[in-house]
């Protein structure tokens, strides 16, 4: 049996902080931008206001943290869902690349989009 901890502690830390941020922040953001504005329950903010809010360095930092951690949260959970839920652990290596690789790519994209804002 392999007794070395390896990267699991770090991945779990990212997973659980991502889970916390996602639980705290996503419901309200998704409700506003995904449901309330599209369905006309509330009127969406105009462009200049939203642009100003998003350009604030604190907003950008918070959104970057949210995107990065939420993606690593997804990567970790999805990896284990594929391992256990679909019994695909024998394809462990490609799954790891797909999940955490996807999270890394998504994090880079988020950084670029938020920096050039």
């Amino acid at each position: 049996m392999n007794r070395r901890p390896g990267p699991e502690p770090l991945l779990w830390m990212l997973f659980s902080s991502g889970g916390m941020v996602a639980a705290l922040m996503i419901p309200i953001l998704l409700f506003l931008f995904g449901i309330a504005f599209p369905l006309g329950l509330l009127s969406p903010p105009d462009h200049s206001h939203l642009f100003a809010v998003l350009r604030n360095p604190i907003t950008r930092l918070v959104l970057f943290g949210l995107c990065a951690l939420a993606l690593f949260h997804w990567a970790h959970r999805f990896r284990f869902t594929l391992y256990d839920g679909l019994q695909l652990k024998r394809y462990g290596a490609p799954i790891v690349v797909l999940c955490y690789g996807g999270a890394v790519v998504g994090t880079v994209i988020a950084a670029v989009l938020l920096i050039r804002l």
């Binding site: 659980s16 991502g18 889970g19 916390m20 996602a22 639980a23 705290l24 922040m25 996503i26 419901p27 309200i28 953001l29 998704l30 409700f31 506003l32 931008f33 995904g34 449901i35 504005f37 599209p38 369905l39 509330l42 969406p44 903010p45 462009h47 200049s48 939203l50 642009f51 809010v53 998003l54 907003t59 959104l63 949210l66 995107c67 939420a70 993606l71 949260h73 997804w74 970790h76 959970r77 999805f78 284990f80 869902t81 839920g85 679909l86 019994q87 998504g106 994209i109 988020a110 989009l113 938020l114 050039r116 804002l117």
Partner: protein, 126 residues
């Protein structure tokens, strides 16, 4: 000694309600990832100017996009509720040497949720 090992069904999580709920909870992560994509599309649209922001708003009103977001909302709520519910079992919080009872840990999470949601709503809608 010839022993018998019960075979495991591929979809073993259909055999018990609690297992099914567990798999649904884990699948919520897919919708968390979807939200990140959606948020980045919004950020990209806003940074491209008023016209492309309007395009995003039109696109987000399409029936299938709203449907995906409503479904995502249900899964994200499942995630938030199960996450807060399990939190006191994963962490022990001490205040002045005394262990905080689980109910208070859960309550603190919901309180933080409420406050943060209010702040976000205020920032966006003000």
């Amino acid at each position: 000694m010839s022993t018998y090992q019960r075979p495991l069904a591929l979809f073993w999580w259909l055999e018990r309600r609690s297992y099914l709920l567990f798999v649904l909870r884990e699948l919520s992560a897919v919708f968390v990832a979807w939200f990140v994509v959606y948020l980045l599309l919004l950020v990209n649209a806003v940074s491209d100017g008023a016209a492309s922001y309007q395009e995003f708003l039109d696109w987000s009103g399409r029936r299938w996009v709203v449907a995906v977001n409503v479904l995502a909302m249900l899964f994200v709520l499942l995630h938030a509720i199960t996450w807060f519910g399990l939190a006191p079992r994963a962490m022990v919080i001490r205040v002045r040497g005394r262990r905080l009872p689980p109910v208070q840990v859960v309550a603190a999470h919901y309180l933080a949720w409420l406050v943060l949601s209010a702040v976000v709503a205020w920032l966006v809608l003000r």
